[in-house]
């Protein structure tokens, strides 16, 4: 990335030598990402991240397909980038169907097929869930749609959370649009990709210059694209080893954490991302646990990131059937390529007693919420 920010600072649309060097780097980034996806370079559009990729896919497909229909089918456990995008479209007359999920967060292929009618133009389902790690049965879901639809209904896959751990082969997976975000596989934040199957009609959502084959106007973030491409290539090269190792480390952490009374894993026990552990800690409050863990040097997450401290419960756990009082104890641990055996050894020592202490403390606080019996 660094040369693109320093000596090779040219605009890839410029014909001079500086521009040509930047163009070379950008072309190569398209090629690298395409190769990882078994796709063609022209099918790759670089974006400012997974959210923009999904917005471009969903809004672009919806507006391009408006002459043929107005129904969009999605699931109740999608990321906000999807749910808020389709919610925005609903204000313009698009009909949005949010499919329910089972206890593990999975969409039923038969239910999806049943939701497809002649006015359906787009289906958007994630490959794996960010909060609970559950992997969707995508091949079956897509096959069901293809079976019942009289014409090609566009299928968008939000693969942002899944990309580091699940191989994506666009020759095998019969999808039309796939979103990726670089920051999930150690690439630079603010860089993403939308893969658009060649021939797919999509209406641009950013207008200006003719960059990215008129699908995304604006001077390209060349360094971001190169960073994403390099990170994704390394991720794909090392994926088999990473997944095997992380699954073992994650299971170790899961066994230690779920041994704490009142802690239970959420999401699918097997069809799940290898580096992902999500649990519910009963009687406790996820954001409070995150603070206690951080003070001990353990970085965890309570459902989706929340900066203002607003108390909204997770829509994912709600869709999976967890009542609010259980969902508020949601906690997520993410392992990554760089996570070591030693770190997990420390985590399994440090985390269980903290969770136990937080449960006891939370019960005491619930009995005396205003601290009228603090004790000296």
């Amino acid at each position: 990335m660094l040369p693109l920010l320093t000596e090779d600072f040219g605009n890839p649309s410029s014909p001079h030598a500086y521009g040509r060097r930047a163009r070379m780097a950008l072309d190569e980034a398209h090629e690298v990402v395409a190769a990882c996806l078994s796709a063609q370079p022209r099918e790759i559009v670089f974006t400012s991240g997974g959210t923009e990729a999904s917005n471009l896919a969903i809004k672009g497909a919806a507006w391009a397909g408006r002459a043929e229909g107005h129904r969009i089918v999605t699931s109740a456990v999608e990321h906000d980038a999807t749910l808020h995008a389709v919610g925005h479209l609903a204000k313009f007359g698009f009909e949005v169907v949010e499919l329910p999920v089972d206890r593990y967060g999975r969409v039923d292929p038969d239910e999806l097929a049943a939701a497809i009618d002649e006015r359906t133009i787009l289906v958007t389902i994630q490959m794996a869930n960010n909060e609970v790690g559950t992997v969707q049965p995508l091949a079956e879901l897509i096959a069901g749609v293809r079976r019942v639809a009289g014409r090609r209904v566009l299928f968008h896959v939000d693969a942002v959370q899944a990309a580091p751990y699940l191989a994506i082969d666009t020759q095998a997976l019969d999808a039309d649009l796939i979103s990726l975000g670089a920051h999930k596989f150690e690439g630079p934040k603010g860089s993403g990709v939308l893969w658009i199957r060649h021939g797919t009609a999509l209406m641009a959502q950013t207008h200006g210059g003719g960059q990215e084959r008129y699908r995304r106007a604006g001077t390209e973030n060349v360094a971001g694209a190169v960073g994403l491409a390099t990170a994704y290539r390394l991720t794909c090269d090392e994926r088999a080893d990473t997944v095997k190792r992380l699954r073992r480390l994650r299971d170790r952490l899961r066994d230690a954490v779920s041994a704490v009374p009142g802690v239970e894993p959420t999401g699918h026990p097997r069809q799940r991302l290898p580096g992902h552990l999500s649990v519910i800690v009963r009687d406790a409050d996820g954001p409070g646990i995150v603070v206690a863990l951080d003070l001990e040097g353990i970085a965890a997450s309570a459902g989706a990131a929340c900066t203002t401290g607003s108390p909204e419960a997770s829509h994912v756990l709600a869709a999976m059937g967890y009542p609010d009082e259980e969902a508020r104890g949601a906690l997520r641990f993410s392992l990554g390529r760089t996570t070591t055996e030693e770190e997990i050894t420390r985590a399994v020592e440090v985390i269980p007693p903290i969770l136990g202490r937080l449960r006891v403390g939370s019960v005491a606080l619930a009995a005396d919420p205003l601290g009228q019996e603090v004790g000296v």
């Binding site: 954001p287 409070g288 603070v291 206690a292 951080d294 003070l295 900066t307 203002t308 401290g309 607003s310 108390p311 202490r357 937080l358 006891v360 403390g361 939370s362 005491a364 606080l365 005396d368 919420p369 205003l370 601290g371 009228q372 603090v374 004790g375 000296v376």
Partner: protein
Amino acid sequence: MSGGVDSSVAAALLHEGGVEAVGVWMRLHDVADTYSEFKKSCCSLDAAEDARRVAGQLGIPFYVLNLEREFGAGVLAPFLAAYQAGETPSPCVDCNSTVKFGALIGRARKLYECDAVATGHYARVDEVDDPDAPGGRRFRLLRGADPDKDQTYFLYGLRQDQLARTRFPLGELTKPQVREVARRRGLVTAEKPESQEICFVPGGDYRDALRQRAGWQETPGPLLDRDGALVGAHRGAAAYTVGQRQGLGVALGEPRYVARIDAAANLVQLGRREDLERRTFEVRDVSFTAGRPPAPGVFACEVRIRHRAEPVPARVERLTADEPGRRGTWRVEVERPVWAAAPGQAAVFYRGDEVLGGGRIASSPRA
């Protein structure tokens, strides 16, 4: 850390003194969501950002804690109930007793293994020998060194167990000194103006909070003069506070103030300035910082009935004997008349710099 200069400096001084400090911004209500344009309140999201930046400058951890439920139960509900009962609430007293040094100390201790909660209040706590106290020692709550900024009026409700877990790093400083400390350290909040209004009433009109949070509506009723003569209509008893002069909608030749509010009858009665002077009043829900009164039946002290008012020498006498030391009713006889002792407002007992305790001014049955 509210995002103001005082708590910023408090955090800085703790941190520099070698204390392992953790910055916390409390989300107490939804005003930040509903009034995103509002910039001045200490509780807006901008304030959280300022607190976060200061914590970052100091290099201490920083978290947003959601205490909306606790604030609702401990502060908002009594606030709304007080106005609806024709009284004048003291929300900052409740916030200190039940949220900052209640719910927050509880979390600090029970969840995070912290020893104490420190704030940017201008007040001091020390520990003295006291043969009558359990363990022979007791904590005293003392006025802040800056007489203009002393905030002990709002802290009188703290108990011994709370004082033991409380740190006031600004107690010995004046406001100009605090600003100077902030400037020297380049804290982003160094020049930030004071916030004075009630944090959950961003527009400054508490009636908006009554409408939005308690479904209050204007219910006109009789406005009586001092002699009982009907002189007009008021907007509803909850919209008035004892001592209020503005917005009465009457002109009677000489100034009139709200002298009495009867919420049950929806009556508001006016008086001349001197009609609001009182030599005796009763104080209910009395608590003592020592856990017991300075004397079982009668004691002498100085009394303050509003923030920063000059304390007035007084004789305080026990009226009820329920639950020794806590939650009783006492009668206060002041040496010089006090003006507009509004029922519901805090009356705080001092002896020199020490806060003995206090309670809420009771509505007088005779008035």
